[in-house]
Amino acid sequence: MSQCSANDVTAPRPNPSAKWVCGYQRAGLACGEGPDADGVCCQMKGERKKAVDHESCEANCSGRHSCELTGFRRQPQLPSHSELGPCIPQRAAWFSRHVIMVNLALLTAGGLLLCMSLPHREAIFVPGGLSSKHAQILGNLLVSERCSLCHPNSHADVSSMVLQDDLCMKCHTSHMPDAAIRSPHDLTTTQLVSLANPAQAASGEAELSRMKSTQCAMCHIEHHGNGFDLTAMTDASCQACHQHQFNSLAAGHPQFDNFPYRTQRKIAFDHSAHEGKHFGTKNEKFECGRCHVDHLQKGALGSVFRSVGFEKACASCHNDSIKSTTINGWALIQLPSIAPADAQADSQRLNEWPASAQFGYEGEISVALRFLLAADPEVHEALSRLPASGKIQDLAGGEEERAQVARALARGVRRLIADVALDGQLAWKRRLKDIGQASLGRDLNPHELQLIDLMSNGLPPDLFRQMELRWFGNQHGIASTVALPVRLVSQLQDQSLLAGDSLLDASSATQDDLVLGDDDSLLNDVSDATSADVSKADSVRFTNIKGSEHVADGGWYLDQELLALRYMPRGHADGTLAAWAEFSTLVDHAARLGQATIAKRGLQHADGVPGACTECHVLAPQRAEALDDFSNWSSAKRPTLVRLFTKFDHTPHLTLPSLSDCRHCHVANSQSVLSLGQIHAEHASSVGDRQLEQAAVCEFLEAEFSMMRLEQCSTCHRAGGAKDACTQCHNYHVGTQGLEWSK
């Protein structure tokens, strides 16, 4: 208890850490003791808790001791004790602040707990709206379900072991099926190394394996609202990983590497020759858009395509010339000619050989017939001795050798016809499959099997039975590689083979009908001809039928005059002819690589498959062998679904007057020495060198245009000009598919 000060009405000073201060302080009359920690006035505590008798206090106060009115005692002129009323302690300033702080904190905590218990609590705690695409997908879901679709561990029903990227891929797998998750560009470490530095694959892989894995949320930051571009990526982000640092496209970007002609061209088109020679002579304007622009379609590069297709781009000039090359069809099988003496000698087993094919050892063995005969072991020797032209008469040996080859081939053809007559298309396909496997040295892949199907497409076995009957005179001794079934022999002997044969019933010959179209006369003729009562006059009449006219729109027919089985293509893009061409190229390629388990055996043919397909279509067997690339017959198209490293859209560029001429960017290579025509002419003389010709064509196509240079783009795409951000031309998400295509 301190003594009162005469000059200081508030003395002694209150304890600064006291929660309560005297109620008389504001009047300058604070007592020295002050209230206790609970805010009870010192006069109200303990034995002094009784009511204060202010008058008595005043009267008895000596003024030497402290009391609640210490100051007042020293200044008797101030209001009296009773006038001030009882002391009501006040909170100290700091304690007032403390109370406010605690109350506000409790209010906040209570408010948050209340919010967490609300059914729509996610709406309160979500840190912002979703981007428009995610909002569209998740908009119809309950709020509580929305969170757990992307956030692992956000709700009890999602395992804490699941990573957020895995949840992302639950929806995004469909367009990134082969993505290597948590790896840059969705590529595996090996693929990345092969891109970065193939020479140092081992060390590079070790280096990359130390690299931190990527996460979707590193770049795609959600909850920035509806208008936020979730795919936006800065150049600096790209350069976070890329070792070669540069400022912009114009300053430091690596020079283009074989851009944009990295993809192999599949159509051999000589732009210069067409512009100067073909269009020039017709006095027509050579417009790029005529063959490359189709405004009705939208591809990966806008409305610009490698080719808008044969019908739109080429047909007007090339349709007639293509038709002319196959006007009489393609003789797949043609009976070779033997000497009459051979037909007389039982030892040669050629007794029933048609008389019209007995004028000496001559005849041409087509490439198709070679494949079919190559499956017959007895013909291997003869085939291997055949010249590249396929003509028996071109055999370098003497008459005896020609006789041996011709007889062997004739017996082979005889067995082939008997086989197909007996087993139908199955025998045809079996032979092709055998020779395919033997040549390639492996089982055929689905594409190659599909080729064989196409090569047999619509082949009518009845034509082979007709050969049996009309060319070989229904004789018993059909020399087949398989034993002739009793049924067929008896039927042949019965001379009523086709009359009672349901196979030739018009209603059952569905496929043949498709092949022959409305021209049923041939089959009818067959029926008539197989009748025992067929007259010689009728034979003459039917022999005069010109099959090529009857199946002008495509199909198989017998050439009775030249004793041949012919195929009439269905104009441009005939599947059967294309399949034969591709199959022969495959076999030829395999033979060159030494993959064949059989010797080459003269499978090459100078003319190959008719139609001049390979003049325009570059057949690249090494690409066709890859299961995912069978598109040799159509121009290369950028896949719209596969994301490549580089993206480009011609459409906005073509709107600029300075770029409307394609030649602004696609500059013809002035260093090209030979034109495409000269290459074809050069290889026309070298028999059986189609592979070399194709290689030369490929070389020409690769060099026809000069590679684009960086400066052609950076003229416009620079700071202050058109955008030059990395993502303007490059995709981040590539994946194996895109990587392979980009290569």
Binding site: A27, G28, L104, H151
Partner: protein
């Protein structure tokens, strides 16, 4: 302040570096912000230790100001713009209020002492009411005494009409917010105008009352400046615990929804 600016610059560089390396700059700024905010609370902790030798509070306050400046700038780096989400917005508003009041408090705490020193009366806030009461009593006695002199009731009448409300009642809220000398000058001018109506003794009382007006106004000025500072301090401090709770919830939510908690 140089160190603060240096720290801001280094943090900005670190954020940019993290961003360029596809890192999570929000985590970097978030944890730095959390650490610096926690550092701001150290001043309150220091104040609890009155006797312990932990350095001068003024030094701690200086560190608090610098760290608060750093945290405010870091806060802007962390949130991005615009702020979205109800809870996030509340948190940002709370932080902004605390930070802004802190900045204003910092400015005022430097300007107020100078203004206080400019006036002769020097009293603590708690003392001022008592002093005002004393001055009011003295003025009342002086006015009553002047009524007994020959000049009649001129001075007493004026006291009753104009000076009594001034001495007896506190100043308004507007004065608390913007303390000024308008009323003081008005009263002194009016008292001066009474001179022609008073004799020597009356003028003596008038002079005494004028001195008391000046003293009362000085006390009011003192009170306004100190009260304003204390009010702002209360405002600054009252939200800090609420802010701490919201920051805690924010951190838990972030890591919970990232799947790492």
């Amino acid at each position: 302040m140089t160190i603060t600016l240096l720290a801001v610059g280094l943090t900005a560089q670190a954020v940019q570096w993290t961003h360029n390396r596809l890192g999570d700059e929000s985590t970097l700024t978030g944890w730095t912000l959390l650490a610096s905010t926690a550092g701001l609370y150290l001043l309150s902790v220091r104040k609890q230790f009155v006797t312990a030798r932990l350095g001068r509070v003024s030094a701690w306050l200086q560190v608090h100001v610098y760290m608060g400046t750093f945290a405010s700038i870091l806060f802007l780096m962390h949130i991005g713009w615009p702020v979205r989400g109800i809870f996030e917005t509340l948190l940002a508003v709370c932080f902004t209020i605390v930070a802004f009041s802190g900045i204003v408090l910092g400015v005022m705490s430097r300007r107020t002492p100078k203004r206080l020193l400019a006036i002769p009366v020097d009293r603590r806030l708690e003392q001022i009411p008592a002093d005002r009461a004393t001055v009011a009593r003295e003025a009342h006695e002086t006015a009553l005494a002047s009524a007994q002199f020959g000049e009649g009731a001129t001075l007493a009448e004026y006291y009753k009409q104009s000076l009594l409300p001034f001495f007896q009642s506190p100043r308004g809220v507007l004065y608390l917010m913007v303390p000024n000398g308008i009323l003081r000058r008005k009263l002194l001018r009016e008292l001066g105008d009474l001179e022609r109506y008073l004799a020597d003794r009356g003028n003596s009382s008038r002079t005494a009352l004028a001195a008391m007006v000046t003293t009362k106004d000085d006390l009011d000025y003192q009170y306004a400046l100190q009260a304003r500072l204390r009010l702002l301090f209360t405002f600054h401090l009252s939200l800090t615990w609420a802010l701490a709770i919201m920051i805690g919830v924010h951190v838990v939510l972030v890591y919970r929804f990232q799947g790492t908690l």
